[in-house]
Amino acid sequence: MNLEFTPEEQAFREEVRTFIAENYPKHLADFGMREDMVREDFLAWHKVLGQKGWSVPAWPVEYGGTGWTPTQRYIWSEENARVNALMPLPFGVSMVGPVIYTFGNEEQKARHLPGIRSGEVWWCQGYSEPGAGSDLASLKTTAVRDGDHYVINGQKTWTTLAQHADWGFFLCRTDPTAKAQEGISFILIDMKTPGVEVKPIKLLDGGYEVNETWLTDVRVPVENLVGVENKGWTYAKFLLAHERSGIAGVARSKRGVEKLREIATHETLDGAPLIKDFDFAKKVSQLEIDLAALEITELRTLAGEQAGKGPGPESSILKIKGTEIQQRLTELTLEAVGTYSAPYMGGVSNDNGSNEHPVGPDYAAHAAATYFNMRKTSIYGGSNEIQRNIITKMILGL
């Protein structure tokens, strides 16, 4: 048992660090939560990585993966977080991609995987519905077979960044008589198909990053069905387990704590830097301790994967603690900026955000919006209550 990296791993870190330094888009340096992002910004780094062959490290090598060990993947995410890089969005790379190469047919692989790897095609996820949040299986969107098409009707919600998406993967009910989790199919939809309508939802931070998506008589060729009809729930569960890896966000939170320390060095209390105030410094230390614990917990999980165990229900712990730490981090940042948390300077991803120079210090401009925005993390991806239910069942055996 040891915490050291091998010489090979250290060399790999050097290689990665150099590559990032030389190739990461300058205009996206130290990306935080920003309101003025456009589609090209989100895809910029993805495209560079696609050319390098590093856009989908976790995929099997035959589909374009890097063949890195989990430790290498950990180093990779650490190095990206170190410069706060804007990583490829997960919807293609970590979600639909693995479903397609695991359950899809050869045509689907040939058609869709290249666009995901290269960053040319933007995917979104059509799972949640207005009446079905944590209770995903109660979804109502229907896909009715009509010749060699499905005709799809329903309403999806929380479709993240669907306003930019080319394609979406949707869960639809293909057998209305089956029980809740049966009779659901996993269908790929071209977002330009007539009948698909996307309407952004304004979030409480003022930004727009999720949408309501209406599907009205949308005709989708049956070859867009992934795997077997009515077995979509299996793929959805597979995807959720995949989604959880990396959800702890350790490397990014570490960078966040560094930033918090910087902010607290500029902010003052009684004429001294805020970080010199024991009361505040103690909260930062507590956060660092919780984060150190989470990091080792993630590495232990990773070691388990490296030893051949798949991602198990332990990853629910990563989700819970990871999001608690992210939320606590934004809360402390809010506290650090004090009075200047009040001015509204636009939402986190806001198409009508102000471009004025911020009132107060730059680092204060989005402290409140980020705090508000990050409340979502304990709700999405299976709320933290659902994660606790999973642990109850799968680990405690109750």
Partner: protein
């Protein structure tokens, strides 16, 4: 000992409650915030008409003889409706300075306008580097003949875009952060040399950065004795904190009730989410926190007239306890609302935002826990 409200207080509560319910709905508020003015002067006029703006002033000063308990009743109702109109800076803060420190002439000049609704005040005390220390001032007021010349920059002055007048704190002597040498001034916002940068706040109000560049004010602008303003500021801000806590209690009450109601309506897995014991107990903890917050608000309000140490301890206790409750209730309310809780469309998020910003007004939880320790 008596925890009952007077009949008159009950009437004020009922009247205000009706006004908020009937004329301050969520959509009306949203429209007001999005408008260029950003508030509803017509509501302000109604408040004047109902006597609300004159309530906490003595009859001798032209008011209706109420006190801190009346302010509490009023602010709680405002909290329930997330009312953005500047009752706190105008009536509680400016009114407080005039009541406790104003000369007969100053009262004469300003209180009438406040009561009638024609005068709106903002209280410019915070500074970019001052955090929550009222004495940590870079703004200066230099003696100039009989009057003073003000220079400086005040941060996040709530309600300033709507204000006709300002109360300003400035240093007339001593070193930065000294207890002595702090003075308080009253002036019209359109005094030469006063400029502002106006903006919306995250909780839907308006505020300004206020800049003073060689602003000349007469000797009559000084409230209280020169250089001895800090005790007066502490008294008035303690009153403001008690009122602010009442506002937060109103907002928490509604946020909690909305959450319970949502949990009754919203179904998941075929049953209302309010039937899940985990959410039940968390809503109980929210309720308990709310009740404790109300108690601390009562305590602070009823101790405003006590000796300085008792008053400060009670007020700090309230700001700590209410601040903690506001955080718990705001965060849990959003969590229990799930995805809908983080949208702009649902009212709950707006309660959450108001309850968040509450903590940073007049000193946060940490600041007041420190003050409580120092006084113990």
């Amino acid at each position: 000992m008596d925890f009952n409200f007077t009949e008159e207080q009950g009437m004020v509560r009922d009247g205000l409650s009706r006004l908020v319910r009937e004329q301050y709905g969520f959509e009306q508020r949203r429209k007001a915030i999005a408008s260029s003015e950003g508030w509803r002067p017509e509501v302000w006029a109604q408040l004047a008409e109902l006597g609300i703006l004159g309530m906490p002033f003595s009859e001798a000063d032209g008011g209706f003889g109420g006190g801190a308990v009346d302010a509490m009743v009023i602010m709680e109702e405002f909290g329930k409706g997330l009312v953005i109109e500047p009752f706190l800076p105008t009536v509680v803060c400016a009114g407080g300075f005039l009541k406790h420190g104003g000369t007969a002439a100053q009262k004469e000049e300003h209180i009438g306008g406040i009561v009638a609704g024609s005068c709106v005040f903002a209280f410019a005390y915070a500074e970019p580097k001052g955090r929550y220390d009222y004495a940590d001032l870079e703004t200066t007021a230099k003696k100039d003949g009989a009057g003073y010349v003000l220079n400086g920059h005040k941060a996040v002055v709530i309600g300033a875009p709507w204000a006709s007048h300002l109360i300003v704190t400035a240093r007339t002597g001593g070193e930065r952060r000294d207890r002595s040498g702090v003075s308080v001034f009253v002036l019209a916002k359109d005094t030469a040399g006063v400029t502002t940068r106006d903006y919306v706040t995250v909780d839907g109000r308006r505020a300004s950065e206020v800049y003073f560049e060689n602003v000349s004010v007469p000797a009559e602008a000084l409230i209280g004795a020169e250089g001895e303003g800090l005790a007066l500021i502490e008294l008035v801000t303690d009153e403001a904190i008690a009122a602010l806590c009442a506002e937060a209690c109103g907002a928490m009450k509604v946020a909690h009730a909305m959450t319970v109601e949502y949990s009754r309506q919203r179904k998941q897995f075929g049953v209302p989410i309010g039937s899940f014991q985990v959410l039940q107990h968390r809503m109980v903890d929210m309720y308990t926190a709310y009740e404790q917050a109300v108690s601390l608000t009562y305590l602070a309000t009823l101790r405003l007239g006590s000796d300085e140490v008792e008053r400060k301890k009670a007020v700090s206790a309230a700001k700590v306890g209410v601040g903690q409750a506001a955080r718990l209730i705001g965060q849990e309310a959003v969590q229990i609302h799930g995805g809908n809780g983080v949208t702009d469309e649902y009212a709950i998020g707006h309660y959450f935002k108001r309850l968040t910003i509450f903590d940073s007004e007049f000193g946060n939880v940490d600041h007041h826990l420190k003050r409580h320790v120092a006084l113990s």
